[in-house]
């Protein structure tokens, strides 16, 4: 008996610990929460705000699945139950429909966009048709015939939707079970049959994405500075992250400013991308193809630059934040001007930038140059030499390096920020397909990264696709051209070959299987400065691994930048040690080892935020708003009449009961007197 009661007591105490019981709450009868929603957030710059906003308590609207552009009439004019929450499929996510919704926004509560499982035919780009037109080198003062894309429109499919300001929330939903529930709810409750109005209760959706910042960056930064309370509330954060750079020869990092006798060839690529929706930016063609090619070229040059060092140093630079008015490259130029970088603008000999190179039709690669700086004879000579080097090397590899029309300006590229400072010779490599520029569809499908279906995942990792082969050729060409440009011997050129296994990184990155164990591609959005962006650490460590040498020291010594306890830090100028955890080939166990290389990061925050001058249009002033909660849910709504009826009945019951009670209590003596006995006072 004793043991039994002890057992029961223990069981009782144990049960009391189980407080998280999932019961049938009323909320579950009413709402269905949406998982996997991706919102569009608000971004601000010096003069405008772009993006989407919802009200503080969420936007509620009756669901309507848009069938065609004519069907918009129901939403904007004839539908009897505004406001509406519009569900769009891909072919209808166009500028004209979105602008009509924006203009009729009193009847539109929000938009939900269903992402298809495969890329839409015909291309889709929400970016503007002339990207970064106000922060590049082509202004009215530089050359009026080339400003604002008058000569060439670089993104012809661009609808500019990313740069519009909507006052309703726009979410994107994956095409899965949740979306099927939404469609079913619409079909059962909301769909007008034969033109008749649908009857209550109707299916509705509520989206929460309230953004705290408004108007523009100077306003929100000023509001950040207001601190009346102990824990100040910030409303926005500047965009930014870190750039990665490395060199073929170690440079003394502590000595900033001009370096005597140092002449540098900069090989640049961009790391970031963006799309209409926040945190979805696969950027496979716009960014990944470029930086992977540069990494492969750096790896190919490792042996050649160590055995037969060329005259000039090659600087590998990977810029972050280029989609937002060139945050990274403007920061590097600014640091060079202010003597806070180990080099100076005078040290730069030439620039080779690798843009989008993943999709070459007919093996053609375009070599863009700046016509205005070429009017100067010395610069023109250098540029022609660079182009000649490139074309020579390309011919050996069966790539045809074409020069475009001499009056064509540079495409949007980081090189433009260097030109803003002074005329430097340079070339930008591009392939010129831009169907999905800066959109969520710029993914592996766009680059045709497909495998034969019978391969297992492990075999897929080893398989070299045609895209990888093509990129390997470009990487080899870039490596050889850089070596030649840096003054290296022609005899060494044939030893510089990019490894196709390195190039298969592009597949890994776009599938994202090894690095972050998630079933989604790498997110290349630069994000706010305080939050690390995904590709930066990846590229930093890859560059270290591919251009550095392994050291046999402990992790602690490695992190403290010394070889053993007595080692002094000043001995290793120009080098950093990075501790990497990687799996060697033929094994899945990750081991740690220390790599010494020249790979470094330095901050990529726009100079406007350094100087606290937020109206300065010379630099990027992009900030991202903060928000509290982002979520969505669907439910049924009842008619207004029923609600008012309920209130009326309630008030009626209250008034009746008040009257009755008053009446009864005032006559209580009489009403309840018949059983009273005069002698029994207690009863």
């Amino acid at each position: 008996m004793d043991q039994l009661s002890t057992k029961w007591i223990i069981h009782l105490l144990f049960s009391l610990c189980f407080l998280g019981v999932s019961c049938n709450s009323v909320g579950k009868k009413i709402y269905v929460d949406l998982n996997n929603t991706v919102p569009c957030v608000r971004l601000l710059n010096a003069t405008h705000q772009i993006g989407c906003q919802s009200s503080l308590s969420g936007n509620v609207g009756v669901l309507h699945v848009l069938e065609s552009e004519e069907n918009l009439d129901w939403v904007l004019d004839s539908g009897p139950n505004p406001p509406y929450m519009v569900i769009l499929e891909t072919p209808l996510f166009t500028r004209s429909i979105m602008m009509k919704l924006k203009n009729g926004s009193s009847r539109v509560a929000g938009v939900a966009f269903v992402v298809p499982n495969s890329n839409p035919a015909g291309g889709f780009s929400p970016h503007t048709s002339c990207p970064n037109e106000n922060s590049g080198v082509y202004t009215e003062g530089y050359d009026p015939t080339l400003a604002n894309c008058k000569n060439t429109v670089w993104n012809p499919l661009g609808s500019g939707l990313s740069y519009e300001d909507f006052d309703f929330p726009i979410f994107s939903l994956k095409d899965d079970n949740d979306t099927e529930v939404i469609r079913q709810c619409y079909i059962v409750h909301n769909r007008p049959v034969n033109g008749s109005t649908p009857r209550y209760p109707l299916c509705a959706m509520q989206l929460f994405s309230h953004m705290s910042a408004v108007t523009n960056t100077p306003t929100c930064m000023r509001r950040n500075d207001i601190n009346f309370s102990i824990s100040p509330e910030y409303v926005c954060d500047p965009l930014g992250d870190s750039n990665v750079w490395g060199s073929s020869r170690p440079l003394n990092n502590t000595a900033k400013g001009h370096k005597m006798w140092e002449s540098v060839v900069i090989a640049a690529a961009r790391l970031d991308s963006r799309s209409f929706f926040s945190n979805v930016a696969p950027g496979t063609e716009s960014a990944v193809s470029g930086f992977v090619t540069l990494l492969a070229a750096a790896h190919a040059l490792r042996n050649a630059t160590q055995e037969a060092q060329p005259n000039r140093t090659i600087l590998y630079a990977f810029f972050q934040g280029e989609a937002f008015d060139y945050i990274g490259s403007s920061r590097m130029v600014y640091d060079m001007e202010k003597n806070q970088f180990p080099l100076d603008m005078d040290n730069i000999h030439s620039v080779l930038e690798i843009g989008q190179v993943g999709l070459r039709s007919d093996s053609k690669l375009w070599l863009h140059t700046d016509p205005v700086s070429r009017r100067n004879a010395t610069v023109n000579k250098e540029v022609e030499e660079l182009i000649e080097n490139l074309q020579l090397v390309a011919r050996e590899l069966n790539i045809s390096g074409e020069e475009p029309n001499l009056s064509q300006p540079l495409p949007p590229s980081s090189f433009q920020r260097f030109l803003l400072n002074r005329p430097i010779p340079g070339v930008v490599l591009e392939d010129h397909r831009s169907e999905f520029y800066e959109s969520m569809f710029d993914n592996r499908e766009y680059l045709n990264i497909t495998y034969p279906p019978e391969l297992t995942p492990e075999e897929q990792l080893e398989y070299v696709t045609d895209t990888a082969k093509a990129l390997t050729e470009v990487a080899t060409m870039v490596g050889r051209a850089l070596y030649k440009q840096a003054g290296g011997e022609d005899s060494q050129l044939k030893n510089i070959n990019a490894d196709s296994q390195i190039v298969r990184l592009v597949k890994i990155i776009s599938i994202n299987q090894n690095f972050f164990s998630n079933d989604r591609p790498l997110n290349l959005y630069v994000g706010v400065y305080q939050q690390a962006s995904e590709p930066t650490a990846l590229v930093h460590h890859l560059l270290a691994n591919l251009t550095g040498s392994v050291l046999n020291i402990t992790q602690e010594n490695c992190n403290n930048q010394r070889e053993d306890e007595e080692d002094k830090e000043s001995k290793h100028v120009g080098h950093t040690a990075v501790f990497l955890l990687l799996a060697p080939p033929n094994s899945t166990e990750r081991r740690g080892f220390c790599v010494r290389s020249t790979s470094r990061v330095f901050r990529a925050l726009s100079p406007a935020f350094e100087e606290h001058n937020y109206t300065n249009k010379a630099y990027s002033t992009w900030t991202e708003s903060r928000w509290k909660s982002i979520r969505g849910r669907i439910f049924l709504v009842a008619s207004h009449e029923l609600e008012m009826l309920t209130l009326g009945v309630g008030i009626g019951v209250l008034l009746t009961s008040l009257l009755l009670t008053y009446f009864i209590s005032s006559k209580a003596d009489i009403l309840f007197s018949s059983a009273r006995e005069p002698t029994n006072a207690t009863y």
């Binding site: 019981v21 009323v26 709402y31 509705a204 609600e643 006559k667």
Partner: protein, 258 residues
């Protein structure tokens, strides 16, 4: 659904109880104290019943639907029985307290009669029972949505509010009848109260057939109301007197000191 539904349902559920409180109890501090004590007794009975149910659910097999339904019925019956046990316990406590109060007070007559205590304790039970029945439903009625996306009936909020109003008034009537029966040692009346309470609680298993559960509940409410009226000292004669406004003459004719 929205604020209007929230206020509508609150007024429906708590309207009669609030008006009774305002007009009959709020001015007398002793009645307020006994009301709150009654509510507390109901709360303790619920705590015990829920403890037993919680442990039994934890022990049982969560996937067996029939077993869960059986456990729910068991929980409801146990809760009703425990509530009535605590009503009896409160009655005993009040009897003892009455003697003590009489000994303490200077006056010769009781400051509060057992009949008033019956009414007040019944209302206290009713308040607390109503609160636990309907407050979480009211909280969800403030949001923009209404019940129905999974196929449940749309009249959930309204019928819950009406049921709660019935339960609160029923508790008050049961209190009056129960205490009166205990005073007169009339045990069959006590059993009738318990059985009618069980009936009303088990009627809720008919939900979502709201008509089938609400209509019989209101019939029982009406009948219990009549019974409570008679055991509180009312009769058809006094009712006729009040309604035909002859009460003033009655008082003058039968004048006695209050």
């Amino acid at each position: 659904m929205t604020a209007s539904v929230f206020f509508g349902c609150t007024f429906i559920a708590f309207g009669p109880a609030i008006s009774l409180f305002l007009f009959t109890i709020a001015r007398e501090p002793l009645r307020v104290i006994f009301l709150i004590a009654g509510a507390f007794f109901w709360l303790v009975s619920l705590l015990l019943a829920s403890l037993v149910w919680f442990i039994s659910v934890r022990i049982s097999n969560m996937d067996n639907e029939a077993q869960q339904k059986g456990l729910l019925i068991f929980g409801v019956v146990l809760s009703v029985l425990l509530q009535e046990v605590f009503r009896f316990a409160y009655y005993k406590l009040l009897k003892k307290a009455n003697e003590g109060l009489l000994a303490l007070s200077q006056e010769e007559t009781m400051p509060i009669s057992i009949r008033q205590l019956a009414y007040v304790s019944g209302l206290g039970f009713g308040f607390m029972s109503g609160a636990f029945s309907v407050v979480n439903i009211l909280a969800d009625s403030v949001g923009p949505g209404t019940v129905g996306i999974h196929g449940d009936s749309q009249h959930y909020f309204l019928s819950s509010a009406f049921m709660t109003m019935a339960i609160i008034l029923l508790h008050m009537f049961w209190g009056v009848v129960f205490f009166d029966a205990c005073e007169k040692q009339c045990w069959w009346a006590v059993a009738a109260v318990v059985i009618s309470h069980l009936t009303v609680s088990c009627l809720t298993f008919q939900n979502p057939e709201y008509v089938a559960s609400l209509v019989p509940t209101y019939v029982i409410l009406f009948l219990m109301g009549i019974w409570a009226f008679y055991s509180a000292g009312g009769s058809l004669r006094t009712l006729k007197l009040c309604l035909t406004c002859k009460d003033k003459d009655f008082l003058l004719a039968n004048h006695r000191p209050r």
